[in-house]
Amino acid sequence: MTGYVAAQRISFGLYATDNIVLTPLNTGALNFNDKQSVILSGSTVTINLTDNAVAILTIEGQADMDVTVTIDAPTNLDLNVTNTIPLAIRFAYSNTGATTDITARASAIEVPAGFTTITFPIKRRASGLPLPPPTPSQAGYTGPTGTTYLFIYGTLGQVPVNVAAGNYTGNINIHVEYSKY
């Protein structure tokens, strides 16, 4: 019996090989100074989805598969242990098959604040009955690929009045994997 339970762990994920490619499009950074050049104590800086300062990534993968995106972001940007600024990260995705980040952004879907994980198809499916399961990748066959855009943005602050001046940083980790059902 134990053997059968273990066998069920061979899930949808097994159809996928390591063919998800995550590519940062701009500088690979979310720089709040790009939104507001001068950040002083007491400031709150919000980068919205429509702002140029948004960090953009592409997810390339098998078009007929779902992916689960997990954003692992700190709740503060730090200068050191005692000097920190609150950070609230949000993200949005666009899986309409857009070929540029500009058109992708226009149709992007914002994930509600507070959520850190979301699952969606690499390429949005048309309405109607669900399609049959995708053909697994195999020798001589590679499924169609698609590109989803991911937008990372958020709010910094309020910058505490007594923090030291300096460059505050933090790392946002983005994990993407094919969803397993």
Binding site: A6, I10, I39, T169, I172, N173, K180
Partner: protein
């Protein structure tokens, strides 16, 4: 039966291992850096490079005019701050200058031009109403200050005054 059980157990073990390895391969991660540079309000500095020089030889019909855009006698100032930062300036357009011997005052009406590099002739006029300007990529902005003064009724002596400019990041 006693022989089959160990073989079955080994098979399960390998299956689980394979599943975990492939799952790991299908996961992709990337890290982006979030950053913000916080500065002190005092991180903006106004440096006087040259004072305005006025002497009587410049008078025409009892009036002196120093062009902020063209005259070498114009005062020159530089703002040092953060690269590409936007800032707001205000200044009093008319200032009273005082005879150092106590023999009255004169009114000096300022004119100012500004540019993001040291190029007086390219300066754009800046009036006294609140203006929003932008530092250059090397964190500087330059001002040249001239003015008009009527000395037709002035008493002899030295006159001193100050030009006050208010600068604030936005």
């Amino acid at each position: 039966m006693k022989i089959l059980k160990p073989i079955h157990g080994l098979f399960i073990f390998l299956l689980v291992q394979t599943s975990m390895m492939l799952s790991a391969q299908s996961k992709t991660s990337v890290t982006i850096k979030a950053q913000a540079e916080v500065i002190d309000q005092s991180g903006i500095e106004l440096v006087t490079i040259k004072n305005m020089e006025i002497d009587l030889s410049m008078a025409r019909d009892g009036k002196i005019y120093v062009s902020a855009l063209q005259d070498t006698q114009a005062a020159m100032m530089m703002v040092k701050g953060r690269a590409n930062a936007r800032f707001r300036i205000k200044f009093a357009p008319i200032v009273e200058i005082t005879n150092s011997a106590g023999n009255g005052t004169l009114l000096l009406k300022y004119e100012m031009v500004g540019y993001s590099s040291d190029n007086q002739g390219a300066g754009e006029p800046i009036d006294a109403t609140e203006r929003i300007l932008q530092m250059s990529s090397d964190s500087k902005y330059y001002f040249w200050v001239g003015g008009r003064i009527d000395i037709s009724n002035a008493r002899p002596g030295n006159y001193d005054g100050e030009f006050t400019i208010e600068i604030e990041y936005i």
